[in-house]
């Protein structure tokens, strides 16, 4: 087991395109870090640079304190699980798992012992003599993980390991991976484009965009205090709503009327011509379900509800609106980057399931302006982000973890603050 230090790593292809651009990330020993981002953001390339399948153009890669830039994959002692599993079809499950040990000429009894242990852990014992072709997708996935486990590798690297599985199996395997990592305590880097996996699996998430590291932090940090428009839009489902706004004389003009900007968060912004306001769907509520005392703190407005979706625990309501042309292009570009194909600008609102609002009518909605995020319209930077609150959120999330990791966290959190400026 070892810590992985990524220092100013760059991957530039021969056509000059930087797939990974000056990424720095410290991964502590035993930590589970997720690399996430839309397709083409460089997350897989970064992973392959760590494992050695991609050359490093510049920067340093340290594993366990040792510089690994020039080392061949076999000398890095890392284990990787590929997206399509990459099992050896001519070998049995047993030999597939034993393969790394066979290469090292591990004695036979030792091989048998370790393969059986891994098979036990992954519930593969009864399939050991079968060929991969006769296994189901989930079983193949487990064989691939078994091959990684027996290595006693310094770190596990996962490259979108669940994207080939169906939804149900994916959920099960996700829990399985989390449990396994917890049990083995091996440093893990996990690449995914699925934000559910990202939010639920790791200790920390690193969000990448066009080869640039945007933000590193716990799921809660990214969700509550995103560093910019991109992270805010990427993390969360349904995604954060973005609306145009204007700060004038201590007031914010929103499409739903003017609200006071006197609160501790909004007052930081100051007067600004055009900003993008970010509101999570769950920050809205059906006005009839809000306490009278709470109601006064927020803003009540009337909206045309286009479609509603009742999910049992929540009710999604869609409110179409026209974005002014000044922010339209910015939002469109964001949509494109996030791989989403939203046809129209609309507000997604997650209401209490008890709400009586139905499709095709007018509804009274309520929101708390103080929970609003404000982004610079040009740079997308989050103007309301409170770095101190980020620390607090961290404390809440991991109260009982070991002291060593807490120390790493502090370091990591400071890192996450630095990187956006570079971006």
């Amino acid at each position: 087991m070892a810590a992985i230090s990524i220092r100013n790593l760059v991957k530039r292809y021969s056509d000059g395109f930087p797939a990974v651009n000056d990424v720095s990330l410290e991964i502590a020993d035993g930590e589970f870090v997720i690399l996430v981002g839309p397709s083409g953001c460089g997350k897989s390339t970064l992973l392959r640079m760590i494992v050695g399948l991609e050359d490093i153009t510049s920067g340093d890669l340290l594993i366990g304190g040792e510089r690994m830039n020039q080392k061949a994959p076999r000398d890095r002692n890392l284990a990787m699980v590929f997206q399509n599993y990459a099992l050896y079809p001519h070998l049995t499950v047993f030999e597939n798992i034993a393969f790394p040990m066979r290469l090292k000429n591990v004695p036979n009894e030792e091989v048998t012992k370790r393969v059986n242990e891994a098979a036990d852990l992954l519930q593969l014992t009864e399939h050991l003599q079968r060929k991969p072709a006769h296994l189901s997708g989930g079983q193949r996935q487990r064989v691939a993980m078994g091959r990684a486990i027996v290595r006693k590798a310094d770190a596990f690297l996962f490259d979108e390991p669940l994207s080939n599985l169906d939804a149900k199996l994916r959920g099960q395997m996700r829990t399985e991976i989390a449990r396994l990592q917890h049990q083995l305590g091996t440093t893990t880097v996990y690449v995914t484009h699925d934000q559910t996996e990202a939010m639920t699996l790791g200790d920390r998430i690193a969000v990448l965009r066009k080869g640039l590291l945007q933000q590193v932090g716990s799921a809660r940090q990214l969700y509550e205090e995103p560093v910019n428009l991109f992270v805010a839009g990427f993390i969360g489902s349904p995604p954060m709503n973005f609306l145009p706004g204007r700060f004038k004389n201590g007031q914010v003009e929103t499409p739903f009327g003017t609200v006071s900007a006197a609160g501790p968060r909004l007052s930081k912004v100051g007067d600004r011509e055009l900003v993008i306001l970010g509101l999570r769907p769950e920050h809205f509520e059906d006005v009839r379900l809000v306490d009278a005392t709470k109601r006064a703190q927020g803003k009540t407005f009337t909206a045309e509800v286009d479609v509603t979706e009742w999910l049992g625990s929540q009710l999604y309501a869609y409110v179409p609106y026209d974005a002014p042309s000044e922010v339209e292009s910015q939002l469109e570009e964001l949509e494109r980057e996030l791989d989403s194909e939203q046809m129209r600008t609309q507000l997604v609102v997650a209401l209490d399931a008890a709400s009586r609002i139905r499709s095709g009518g007018r509804a009274e909605l309520w929101f708390d302006p103080e929970r609003m995020h404000v982004f610079d319209a040009a740079s997308g930077e989050n103007l309301t982000r409170d770095p101190d609150r980020v620390f607090e959120l961290d404390e809440i999330e991991r109260p009982v973890e070991a002291e060593i990791q807490a120390a790493d966290k502090t370091e990591a959190a400071s890192e996450s603050k630095e990187t956006p400026e570079k971006a």
Binding site: V51, G52, L53, A72, P73, R74, N77, L78, A79, M80, F82, N84, Y85, A86, L87, Y88, P89, H90, F99, P100, L103, K104, K131, P132, A133, H134, L135, G137, R140, R147, R151, N164
Partner: protein
């Protein structure tokens, strides 16, 4: 009913083609068992009236044939072995690596495969005599390699290309050197391709006649196809046809056995299950 009709047609055509292909073979076998003295009877029959082993006995006591058989076996096996090994590396490089002149190499290989062999016989004859490898094994193995390699490289690189990149990368991450990855992962996966290539090359070398007759002059290196044309009967009045047929049957047997044995190895779908299909 319509389906039934269609399948009957398939059977009909299948049988027709089978008969078409097997008739000369059967004729060959039948002749080889006929009595050399009397097989030209006034009332010819397809199958011999009396089955005799004389032809086979004659053939195997004739040093012309036994030495030719020995030459054939060794030349074909050596040429095949070399062709497969060289083609394996060349095809791997073509399938996996990028190097300048790759396109040129491939088109050159194809050009050589299409080059008429007859045009080379004359120059080779002179060259080989000057080099002192006329009428030797090596003198046949070299041109056989030349003509067998292009096709071998093309077939094998097609097989290598089908193997997912991830297989090798996984092996490398698992701790394999490039050579170990090639030997333990790539070659087993390309085995059907290797066998196909080996068999095709072996058949080519085994059946080749033009070079064999032109570049040999004695028992030292003459292969069976060439030797057959030197067979004579017991006297000048006796036709050697039955002997030649017996010899032909003998050299056909390994070919048939090879096909039957390796038929199972030459199956596609060995990579099934490696990756999510």
């Amino acid at each position: 009913m319509a389906d039934r009709k269609v399948s009957n047609w398939w059977t009909f055509w299948g049988v027709l083609i089978l008969v078409w292909a097997l008739f000369p073979l059967l004729w060959m076998v039948s002749l080889s068992f006929k009595d050399p003295a009397t097989f030209r009877s006034s009332t010819p029959t397809f199958f011999p009236k009396t089955w005799v082993w004389d032809n086979y006995k004659t053939v195997f006591t004739d040093s012309l044939f036994t030495s030719a058989l020995r030459n054939s076996v060794f030349i074909a096996v050596i040429a095949t072995g070399l062709a497969v090994i060289i083609a394996m590396f060349a095809a791997y490089a073509i399938a996996r690596m990028n190097f300048p002149g790759k396109k040129l190499l491939l088109s050159m290989a194809l050009a050589i495969a299409m080059f008429p062999q007859a045009a080379l016989v004359g120059p080779l004859f002179n060259m080989w005599r000057n080099l002192g490898i006329y009428d030797t094994w090596i003198g046949l193995i070299i041109p056989y390699l030349t003509f067998a390699l292009p096709l071998s490289i093309w077939t094998m690189s097609a097989f290598f290309r089908q193997i997912p990149w991830e297989m090798e990368q996984a092996a490398q991450v698992d701790g394999a050197t490039a050579w170990q990855a090639f030997r333990k992962v790539i070659i087993p996966l390309a085995a059907p391709g290797v066998f196909t290539t080996a068999i095709l090359t072996f058949f080519f070398c085994w059946n080749e006649f033009l070079l064999a007759i032109s570049l040999t002059s004695t028992d030292r290196a003459r292969t069976v196809p060439a030797a057959l044309s030197f067979f004579t009967g017991a006297s000048q009045f006796q036709s050697p046809i039955t002997y030649i047929m017996a010899a032909s049957v003998v050299v056909t047997i390994p070919v048939v056995i090879l096909v039957l044995v390796f038929q199972r190895r030459i199956m596609a779908g060995l990579t099934a299950g490696a990756v999510k299909g």
